[in-house]
């Protein structure tokens, strides 16, 4: 039983109730925004959060005032989210706030407020007690024009039962223990509103409808709302170092990163935690930001983490080469990928600055900065006056420390030397750029090799254990094209060879013509070997007939006919 003075405020965002990553991310932002008003918030379900209203309402000058501020904050967030994601429904679209005694009534009030504001701009909430007056207009400069009616419904203290009595019984349908069956039954029995239900004696309802009926009756009577299960706000375990004045050299930043990493490790260790990954964020004075996640698994020392920061700062310059090929072409005399680093990086910072004036400075610093072998590379990374302003280490996926042990057998130990090399390349090209092959099961040559980004768990997609009938026997092809190449296979008369559903060939293949190449004489062939896979799954089902073709130049090919098209999947070269 909730005490009558237990006032609960509920924020309901109808746009964020759908499951999905984007909605969850936006809702997390909403929660953060609400935490600014009240630190202890319960996320009831996707798109709905609740918190005790008494304290914050007193502080902000009333429940309506507080609700108005929260709506404004969320609406502002929604505008930003929409601008960033281009999504139709932002976080703030149609959000409603309800205040009542108890969670259940407050949730209903929030939904009603949201629906009312969405339905019409002029129409106020059905209870006529909606705080529709825009008294707190000062708090909402950034609210979109749609909220002429403030979607706020405050049920005054002590009048929650009255409010509930008018609600239809259908609102019980999504409650725990009460299903749509019971709601339908109540409707058929003539109990249209919660008031009708609450008017019945509790004992009779319990004996007729069992536990579900008892729960429904208690909710309808304004009782039985569970207390809020608020969680304290997540502790901020990230550590930040600001550089004032901004640091133009990489080396001092790396040095500071070591101390910073130690601080982060201490903070985690004091709570018995470790992180699976750590995000390193560096913000330069010209507003650019470099973010990268690094595998941590509780194994990185502070020095190792500082190394990651160095690689990231080094690598920050490399992708710029990919985008800005112009300067590299312009200076053929000092061609090569290395010295182009400095040029395009500055081109990003400001097109006006990237000019011949900068090019003068380049050759001098090209030498040491991009030698790439030395650990230093302390050359000026950014334009004059620019530098790293903020370095931040954010632990990602915080988990309890359970220790780490290698498997007794069968695990190849990746030496530090190899791991460093791989991570250096990952720093330059991204996490997915360095792969380790894992041999697994499957019928195709491409299926049998799975590629796992370095640092992640090595597990084949298909188990290698069971037999895979339908594999092509014999030596494996040395060249496996990531994307099969479409070719034309014709018979002596120049007609494309076809394969029927019963694997009958129209004629013996005689010529193989790849796009843009002269046709090759087929001197030997075998097949078709049919393969019908995963017919039970329409998305993954494949029916193919495979061939081995030998061409006049001594090379052999693995070809397949799928949907009437000839594809070269691999080459025996």
């Amino acid at each position: 039983m909730s005490p009558p003075e237990h006032r609960v405020m509920v924020l309901y965002c109808p746009g964020l109730t759908a499951p999905g990553r984007e909605a969850a991310r936006l809702f997390e932002q909403v929660l953060t925004a609400v935490t600014a008003f009240c630190p202890r918030v319960e996320a009831v379900e996707p798109g709905v959060c609740a918190f005790g209203a008494r304290g914050p309402a007193r502080y902000f000058g009333g429940e309506t005032e507080l609700a108005g501020r929260i709506i404004a904050a969320v609406a502002e967030l929604g505008v930003q989210a929409r601008a960033a994601a281009g999504a139709g429904a932002g976080a703030g679209a149609g959000a409603g706030v309800g205040v009542a005694d108890g969670l259940f009534a407050a949730q209903l009030a929030a939904r009603a407020a949201s629906a009312a504001s969405a339905a019409s701009a002029a129409h106020t909430a059905p209870t006529a007690r909606a705080a529709s007056a825009a008294r707190a207009a000062s708090a909402a400069p950034a609210v979109p024009a749609a909220s002429a009616v403030r979607p706020i419904l405050v049920v005054p203290p002590g009048r929650t039962v009255e409010f509930l009595a008018r609600q239809p019984v259908s609102v019980l349908a999504d409650q725990d223990l009460i299903g749509p069956d019971l709601v339908g039954l109540l409707n058929r029995l003539g109990l249209r509103t919660l008031g009708d239900l609450a008017a019945l004696p509790a004992g009779d309802v319990a004996s007729r409808f069992g536990a579900a009926g008892e729960t429904a009756h208690r909710l309808a009577s304004g009782l039985g709302s569970r207390p809020l299960a608020v969680r304290p706000p997540a502790e901020d375990l990230s550590v930040t170092q600001e550089f004032d004045p901004p640091e133009p050299l990489a080396e001092p930043v790396v040095f500071a990163a070591k101390a910073l990493a130690e601080r982060m490790h201490e903070g985690l260790a004091a709570r018995g935690l470790t992180c699976v990954r750590v995000q390193v964020r560096a913000i330069s004075t010209d507003g650019r930001e470099s973010r990268r996640l690094w595998r941590h698994d509780g194994l990185l020392s502070a020095a190792a983490l500082a190394d990651r920061v160095r690689w990231q700062l080094d690598g920050w310059r490399v992708p710029a080469t990919a985008t800005g090929t112009g300067p590299a072409d312009a200076n053929p005399a000092k061609a090569g990928p290395a010295e182009a680093d400095a040029g395009p990086a500055e081109a990003d910072a400001g097109p006006a600055k990237a000019g011949p004036a900068k090019a003068d400075a380049n050759p001098a610093k090209a030498g040491p900065a991009d030698a790439d072998a030395g650990p230093a590379g302390p050359g000026p990374v950014y334009g004059p006056g620019a530098g790293i302003a903020v370095l931040r280490l954010v632990p990602d996926q915080v988990v309890r420390v359970t220790g780490h042990q290698l498997a007794l057998w069968g695990e190849t130990v990746v030496s530090d030397r190899v791991a460093r090399a791989a991570m250096r390349v990952q720093a330059m090209l991204g996490h997915e750029a360095v792969l380790r092959p894992v041999l697994g099961g499957g019928r195709d040559v491409s299926e049998q090799v799975n590629h796992v980004p370095f640092g992640e768990k090595m597990q084949p997609r298909l188990p290698a254990g069971p037999p895979w009938p339908g594999r092509i026997m014999g030596p494996a092809p040395g060249v496996v094209y990531p994307f099969a190449r479409e070719v034309d296979v014709t018979d002596e008369a120049g007609v494309t060879v076809t394969v029927t559903g019963r694997c009958v060939l129209s004629a013996a293949p005689a010529w193989l013509a790849a796009e843009g190449g002269p046709p090759l004489r087929i001197t030997g062939w075998a097949g078709p070997w049919p393969l019908s896979e995963r017919w039970w799954d329409p998305a993954a089902a494949r029916r193919r007939a495979r061939f081995q073709l030998l061409t006049g130049d001594g090379r052999a090919w693995l070809a397949a006919v799928q949907d009437g098209r000839w594809l070269i999947e691999a080459g025996y070269l």
Binding site: L435, F454, V479
Partner: protein, 271 residues
């Protein structure tokens, strides 16, 4: 060295009493050597290289000079292996390049493969490559030279196909990195100044008929030339791979069977 054949002979005569006399004579003639047991003169080649996958970390001075290759490829390379610090080129990507990497990997080396998204890891694994000790960088992008240099820090062998023709400056910088480390750079394509250049001259697959059979083995003629020790071109016929999946030397009779009527002639020309 002089005492060794003598001890050998005595041991073969009688075992138990001879050990003492051999020991005394050896100690007087030369530094003491452990008694040598009679060994059959020719060891049968083990079918698959049973090398433990442990790479001892040695200081640079003790690093063996060359990375081992598959037995069938030894004759093509000066010193019978891939000299550390050297650039070896293969004209086109294919089984030959994978076989070169596989030999080193089977002996415990880490291999990096950069710029070859279509590398058939399964075929390489069949030749001996240990997939667990392989790093793939399918698309190194415009910074490929830096990627290769970084990989060379960790891997003994880096198989690289540069996406573009390498300017001399980039090549020299990469070669300097190579000499500092102890790796081998295996380049697919052209690389001026490479120590060894390998190319497949002709190849022919066996086992495939006209509508029947399946590919079984490939007979290939491989030529090696280069600079220094490798300056004299060498040409060998190889099974790449043989029916049992290994890389072995092909006999003239095999070559004729593989459908090369001109094999004898080619062999005579190549010397």
């Amino acid at each position: 060295m002089a005492a060794r054949p003598a001890g050998h002979g005595r041991l073969q005569v009688s075992e138990a009493p001879a050990t003492t006399s051999a020991g005394t004579s050896a100690s007087s003639a030369a530094p003491p050597t452990p008694p040598v047991l009679p060994v059959p003169p020719v060891l049968p080649v083990p079918p698959v290289l049973p090398v433990p996958p442990v790479l001892p970390v040695l200081p640079v001075s003790q690093v063996p000079p060359a990375l081992p290759v598959l037995p069938g490829l030894r004759e093509l390379l000066p010193g019978g292996g891939l000299a550390r610090g050297a650039v070896v080129t293969v004209a086109e990507f294919g089984l030959l390049a994978l076989a070169l990497a596989a030999g080193a990997s089977a002996a415990g080396a880490w291999c990096g493969i950069a710029g070859v998204p279509e590398a058939g890891v399964l075929a390489a694994a069949g030749l001996g490559l240990d997939a667990e000790r392989t790093l793939l960088v399918p698309d190194p992008g415009p910074a490929w030279a830096q990627v290769a240099a970084s990989l060379l820090d960790g891997c003994e062998l880096v198989l690289l196909r540069p996406p573009a023709r390498a300017p001399a400056q980039v090549r020299q910088r990469l070669e300097a990195t190579l000499r500092r480390g102890r790796g081998v750079l295996l380049v697919v394509g052209d690389w001026p100044g490479a120590q060894v250049r390998l190319r497949v001259l002709t190849q022919g697959w066996t086992g495939l008929g006209d509508g029947h059979g399946r590919l079984r083995a490939c007979c290939a003629q491989v030529m090696a030339d280069g600079r220094g020790e490798a300056a004299v071109p060498r040409t060998r016929w190889l099974w790449l791979p043989a029916e049992d999946g290994r890389v072995t030397a092909a006999e003239p009779i095999d070559i004729a069977a593989a459908g090369f009527p001109a094999a004898r002639h080619l062999r005579a020309v190549s010397g």
